[in-house]
Every structure is written in C-alpha cells, then in structure tokens.
C-alpha cells in the first residue's frame, strides 16, 4: 500500500513538473537552471504538503476539513482561469500568467494532500498545459500528451489506493501492474494526441505574438474573455451550491457497510460452458425464447396474435413457412408443457427452426401492419 501511495505522490509531482516546465519553456527563454529550480521548489512544496497532511491528520473535525475543501474548490480554479484568459487575450504577458499559474500550482501541491484536493493539482497542471499549447512547438506536445499520460497514471494509482483503503489487510497489487493496466488504456489516445500535435503544430510563440495578437485583442475576443470569466464565476457558484446540497444530503444516515476481511481461498480453472448448461439458462428456457422470437417477428410482420391464442391457433394463422413452424410449435409445446428438459438436439433444432421461420416472415412498416389479413 505504501508503494502505491508513494507512486501516487510521485505522479502528482511529475505532472506538476511537466506542466510547469512545458509552460515555462513555451513562453520564456529556455534555461536548464530554471527548470532545475522549478523541480526543486515543487519537490519542496510537495514534501511540505506531506508533512502538513501528517500534522493536520490529528487535528480538526471532518466538517471543518470539508468546509476548507469547499473553500479551496471555490477559490483555486478562478485565478487559474483568469490567468488563462490573460494568456489568451495578451500573449505578450503570457509569461507572467505562467508564473502566476506556477505559484498556484505550488499552493495546490502544498494543500492538496492535507485537504484531499489533489484534483486541484491536476486542474492547475491542465491550465499550464493549455497555456503551453497556446505557444505551440515541442512544449505543447510534451505538455498536453504528458498531462494525459501522467494524469491517467495518477488516476489509476489513486483508484487502487482508495479501493484498498477500506481493506488495509489486503495486499496491494504491485505498482507496475497498476501502471501496466493504465498504460494499455492510455496508449492509443496519448500516441494519437502526440502524433496529431506533432503533425499539425500550432504557430510558434513569436508568430502567435505577432499574428494572433490583433485577433485576440479584437473586441469579440475580449467579449469571449469576459464570457469565459463569467462562465468560470457561474461554474464556481454552481459548484458551491452543489457542495452545500451534497452536505445537506450527508445528514441522512449512510448505509452501514461492513468491509469484511477477505482473502482468496482458492483459484480454480473454470469448466468450459457446456452446451447443456445453456449459457442463458436451462434448455427449456432456450426453446421458449426461440418461440418468443418467432412471435415477436410475426407481430412485426403484421400478424395480429392476441394473447389468448394457443400455439396451434397461432400456427394456423401464420401458416408459412409451414414446415419449420410446425416443428418449432411442437418443440415449444414439449418444452413448455412436457415433463422432461429438452435435449441439446431439440434446443439446436428449435433455434434453427425459429431462425428459418423468422427469415420467412417479411417485416412490414408499422403503418401497414394493421391492414394485413391473416395469411
């Protein structure tokens, strides 16, 4: 379990580093020293965040922590969106927006674990990745594809850790297995994204600054920025309302769930499903279902088959195709009313005859069904 938690923290750190570095490299002159500094500051922030989480674990009621979490959810996303809007509207000060977002990311890393709001770290990384993508070039590829890959890894580790939290005595699966499963799912989207971004690169930062500036500073784009801010405000307000609503619902007593100590007592090889087992139930049921399929098809073909009709009367009405229908009716009668379970051969035959009868019935449009006389 500790391996999972450590890997989860590492994923958050990598995500933050990737986002901060790509955004920084996209909008400022490359500097290895600066990237190393960012890595150091981010690691320090996360280490302090872990210490803070440990220190706070013994303090504060759950309600206080929930309230703090609500405040964090309401406060953190807004400046990030504002910074993004600034970067969109005025690329020449995008570097400053990146710095602001980096500071926010540091704060999110510091408080994320203590308040259980790691998702804000992901949100900050996403905004940094978007800002990096505005500039284009390799940082955009790394920022966006890296965000998708590392956040997916974080999701899988977080999921495994949370599931196992209720069963502390169950051994945690190895981290590599968790990551292997996640990578199978993420491989196609991440590769496609990386290739797409690489093949269709956006204009480099300088070009954006020159050619996009007039567009982005046009009145309609300013309106877009205003709208973006308004939407963000509305979204934050909505989130706060939902939070309050959920808090109210929490007053009801939750169901009492007993997480049982579980261990796998045995692993057995499954016997192949035999035909007699009838995958969808006993063979009697399969014959009846085959007959019901025929009935549904006959109704679609325009036959009016009332509920009171006997199978013999239904056979008289439908008539064609005669032979398979007669066999199907007999098999159905045996299965439905006979004392013995139908044999495998009878099941096969009923299903084959049902298919044959259905193939012989032409489906009519709904409007034409009432007009069809019995054959």
């Amino acid at each position: 379990m500790s391996d999972l938690l450590l890997a989860r923290r590492l994923a958050l750190y990598l995500l933050s580093l990737l986002a901060v570095a790509s955004a920084d490299l996209a909008w400022r002159a490359p500097s290895a020293l600066r990237v190393i500094g960012q890595a150091a500051v981010l690691s320090l922030s996360q280490a302090l965040g872990t210490l803070l989480a440990d220190a706070l674990s013994g303090l504060g009621a759950a309600s206080a922590r929930r309230r703090a979490r609500g405040v964090a959810f309401a406060v953190f996303p807004l400046p990030g969106l504002f910074a993004l809007a600034v970067a969109l509207a005025a690329p020449h000060i995008a570097g400053q927006a990146v710095r602001a977002l980096t500071l926010l990311q540091l704060a999110a890393l510091l408080l994320g674990e203590a308040l259980g709001v790691e998702i804000l770290v992901l949100w900050g990384a996403l905004l940094l990745g978007v800002v990096a993508a505005l500039a284009g070039g390799p940082p955009a590829v790394v920022g966006l594809a890296g965000f998708l890959a590392v956040s997916g890894a974080f999701f899988s580790l977080d999921h495994a850790a949370r599931r196992l939290a209720a069963w502390p005595r169950i051994p945690a699966p190895p981290v590599r297995l968790v990551l292997r499963d996640a990578s199978r799912l993420l491989a196609v989207p991440v590769v496609l994204l990386a290739v797409t971004v690489a093949v269709l690169p956006p204009p480099p930062p300088a070009v954006v600054a020159e050619t996009r500036r007039p567009t982005l500073t046009r009145p309609e784009m300013q309106r877009v920025t205003v709208w973006l801010t308004l939407v963000a405000l509305a979204g934050t307000g909505g989130a706060a309302l939902v939070f309050r609503w959920l808090r109210g619902r929490g007053d009801e007593a939750p169901p009492l769930i007993d997480a049982m100590e579980t261990h796998v007592e045995a692993e057995e090889v499954l016997e192949p499903e035999s035909y007699e087992d009838a995958r969808y139930g006993p063979s009697r049921g399969r014959v009846v279902r085959a007959y019901l399929r025929f009935l549904a098809r006959a109704r679609e073909a325009g036959f009016r088959l009332e509920r009171h009709l006997t199978p013999g009367e239904i056979q008289d009405r439908v008539r064609r195709p005669a032979d398979p229908l007669a066999v199907l009716t007999d098999l159905f009668l045996d299965a439905r009313y006979g004392p013995d379970e139908p044999s495998a051969e009878a099941v096969h035959r009923a299903e084959a005859e049902s298919r044959a009868v259905c193939a012989g019935l032409r489906i009519l449009p709904r409007s034409a069904r009432r007009t069809v006389e019995t054959a």
Binding site: L164, D181, L193, L216, A259, E267
Partner: protein, 423 residues
C-alpha cells in the same frame, strides 16, 4: 463521493475547455487534446462495462442459524471475460447481521477463465426471525477508476434465525426410565413392535399372518401372536398464541418469552432423542408433526419463528382437541402466555393426561408482569393468589409447573436445574 466521478468530471471539463478555446483561438493542438481526453473517457467506459459483463458471482451459505452464531458465507467470483480483472468488489446483504451490507474485495488479478473462492464470516447479531440474504452486487472499475459500474444479481434467499436455545433444567427427568439407554424403546403392552409378548385368541380383524399355528393346533382354536408396543420418548408441546395474552414489547414481551421457551423445550427434547411434535393456533394453525433428529428440530424452529400472537382460541381448547395425538406414556407441555387459564378446562386437560399416563408440564408466562398492551394488568396480589391456585391444581394432577415473569432472566431461569419444580 467516488473519486472517479471527480476525475471523470475533470477530463470532461478539460476537454470542453480545450475544445472551445481551441476552436475559438484556432489552436488544433487543444482540439486534439479535447478529442483525446474524450477518447480516454470513452475507452474507460467501454472497458469497465466489458469487464463487468464477464463477471459471475454466486453464493453458498447455510439457510439457518441460531442467534449469535457465526455463519460462513462462500462467494465464488468467476471471470468469463477475455481480460484479467483486479479490485473487484462484491457486496452481499446479510439480513441477520447488523451491517446493511457486507463488502468483499478481490484484489486480483483474476485471469480470464478462472474462479476465485472468497469467504466471509458474520455473526448473526439480530434477534430471531425470518431474514433474507442477498441480493449480491458486483462492481469493477476500468484501470483508471473513472467508471465503476455495478450489477445487482437477484440472488435473494431466505435465512432463518432461530432463538438461542438452552438445555432446559429438569426436562431430562421427564418421560425416561432407569435404563442403559436414554429411553426405553418398548413398553410391555400389546402393540406393534418386533418383541414377542404372548398369544391370545383370534379376534375378528386380526391378520392371518399373525396366527400362531402351534398354539392353534394345541388349543383347537385360532390363536394369534402378540407383540409389545413400541415406546420411544415423546414430547408434545402446545403453544398459546392467543391475541388477548399479548403483553410487553421487544425482548420483554410474552411472545418473546413463549417463543424462546418453546425453542429451548423443543431443542432439549429433540437433542435427548425424543420424538417431538408441536401444536399452536394463531390466525394460522401451527402444526409440526412428530419427528426426531436435528432436521426435524430445524423444521419445528422454522415454524416457530413465524408465529404471531393473533389467535382467537385458548390453548386448552387446542390441547383437548388434539389429545388423541398425544401418545400414552409421553410428556406433554402446555406453554401458556397467561396464568389466568380456565380452571375447569385446565383440570379436565391435566386429568385426562394423567389418566393416560401422560406426564403433564405447565409453563405459564405471567402476562401481567409485562407492559400492558390492550388489557390492564391485574394487581400483583391477584397474580400471587393465582400462582398458588395453579400450584395446587398441578400438584393434584401430578403436573410440573414453572412460572416465568418479566422480572426473570429467561436464559438463567431455563437453565436452572430445578426450574420445572420451582413453582
């Protein structure tokens, strides 16, 4: 709330934001990112559902238990899908336990075509009654934990929780004789056993195969063989389910005392090897035919936990009506929820049993010591006087008497060795 919901929401919000910004600002990388994020969500949704569709769960558990007994429930989890699954959560509702649901986690990985056997133990903490086990639920997530679909399997089975039973003090001395075995197998009277008793004159209706030919030849008149009558210990219990004898609530109620006492009497008799039968008459007739062994005891207890005090007829009416079902030489117990039974009919019942060498036992629950429901409690002086009357009546008919009141700890009282003579 499940963290997967937040993560999913983040990916969807991210794709919405990137798509709108990408389209507005003409940045294809952001559009591609939005589509890739949506693709991840879609693949995760599909993976979770596919994984769940391949899972089968079944349960194996006992159908009954006694209060406070620990029950083992086996759960078989099968993976009939094409990919291994991990962290599968199986939920089960066990009505007789306190928790609403039991949750099990198979850490996995469970390879395709394999079955994992899991088990859990739970204590039947609730009070006796008929409960349900199930439904089973199974849930599994995609590798990222974005979606956790759950399937409910309608595997719901009844589970009978029987009252705790205690060896009833004094019962072992009833209906048995001094012998090497716990009970005499035969009675030295003419009957249908395999033990030879003697010969007598042929009477109309006697079977021809019973004719004793040597004796017939000697006496020149048809003679038949006689066999001893089978006698196995027999215990009959008549239960008072009269509505007007209801009193008290919860664990301090006449119903509770009647059912728990009846369960202990039946269990003690059955475990001693007696043939036991049970009669009661609520709104629904209660009849457990004579039988022996643990399975028969389970049947009797199964019927017992379903009784209600909603009958209209007195237990004495029932005992008189069914007295033919009580074999001579056996033990019969009247379990009344009130001390105030009709003296005349009680005397008649006990007298007729005494005449047939049936050992009578009267267990009376003092209704007036419980919280009254629809009838006001009688003064304690009247109750004391009535207890004395019952004692003298039972003494006159050689019956054993026990009186139970709300002030008694039922379990301790039942286990007292002199309980049946204590009144």
């Amino acid at each position: 709330m499940d963290s997967g919901v937040f993560h999913r929401a983040l990916l969807l919000v991210a794709s919405g934001l990137c798509l709108s910004v990408g389209l507005l600002a003409g940045i294809p990388a952001l559009v591609a990112f939005a589509l890739a994020a949506l693709l991840v969500v879609g693949i995760a949704w599909n993976t979770a559902r596919r994984r769940l569709s391949g899972l089968r769960v079944s349960r194996r558990a006992a159908g009954s238990a006694f209060e406070d007994e620990e029950v083992r429930v086996e759960v078989a989890l099968e993976n009939r899908g094409r990919a291994p699954v991990s962290l599968v959560e199986v939920g089960d509702a066990f009505g007789a336990a306190l928790a609403d649901r039991k949750a099990l986690l198979d850490p996995g990985p469970l390879p395709p075509g394999r079955r994992h056997r899991l088990a859990y133990r739970t204590v039947c903490s609730r009070l006796w009654g008929a409960y349900l086990v199930g439904p089973l639920t199974v849930s599994v997530s995609d590798p990222l934990g974005l979606f956790t679909p759950r399937r409910v399997l309608p595997d719901v089975r009844p589970f009978d929780l029987f009252p705790r039973v205690h060896p009833v003090g004094g019962l072992e001395r009833l209906g048995s004789r001094s012998s090497f075995v716990a009970a005499d197998p035969t009675l030295a009277r003419a009957g249908q056993s395999a033990l030879y008793f003697g010969v007598r004159d042929f009477r109309a209706g006697d079977e021809v195969r019973r004719v004793h030919w040597p004796a017939t030849a000697r006496s020149s008149a048809p003679m038949v063989k006689q066999f001893e009558q089978d006698l196995s210990p027999y215990f009959t219990l008549f239960l008072d389910l009269t509505r007007r004898h209801r009193a008290g609530t919860g664990q301090k109620s006449t119903l509770e005392y009647v059912v728990r006492t009846a369960a202990s009497l039946l269990a003690s008799a059955a475990r001693r090897g007696d043939t036991v039968q049970l009669f009661g008459e609520g709104r629904r007739a209660l009849l457990v035919p004579p039988g022996r062994g643990d399975l028969h005891l389970a049947l009797a207890l199964d019927q017992l936990i379903r009784v209600r005090q909603d009958g209209a007829h007195d237990v004495l009416d029932l005992a008189l009506r069914e007295q033919a079902a009580v074999p001579p030489g056996s033990t019969a117990a009247l379990l009344s929820a009130s001390l105030f039974l009709d003296d005349g009919r009680l005397s008649e019942t006990l007298g007729s049993w005494q005449a047939r060498r049936i050992r009578p036992v009267l267990v009376a629950v003092d209704q007036d010591s419980f919280l009254p429901i629809d009838v006001r409690s009688r003064p304690r002086g009247d109750v004391q006087a009535r207890t004395e009357e019952l004692r003298s009546l039972c003494h006159a008919h050689g019956a054993l008497l026990a009186v139970l009141g709300a002030e008694h700890d039922l379990e301790l009282e039942l286990m007292r060795s002199d309980w049946l003579e204590s009144a």
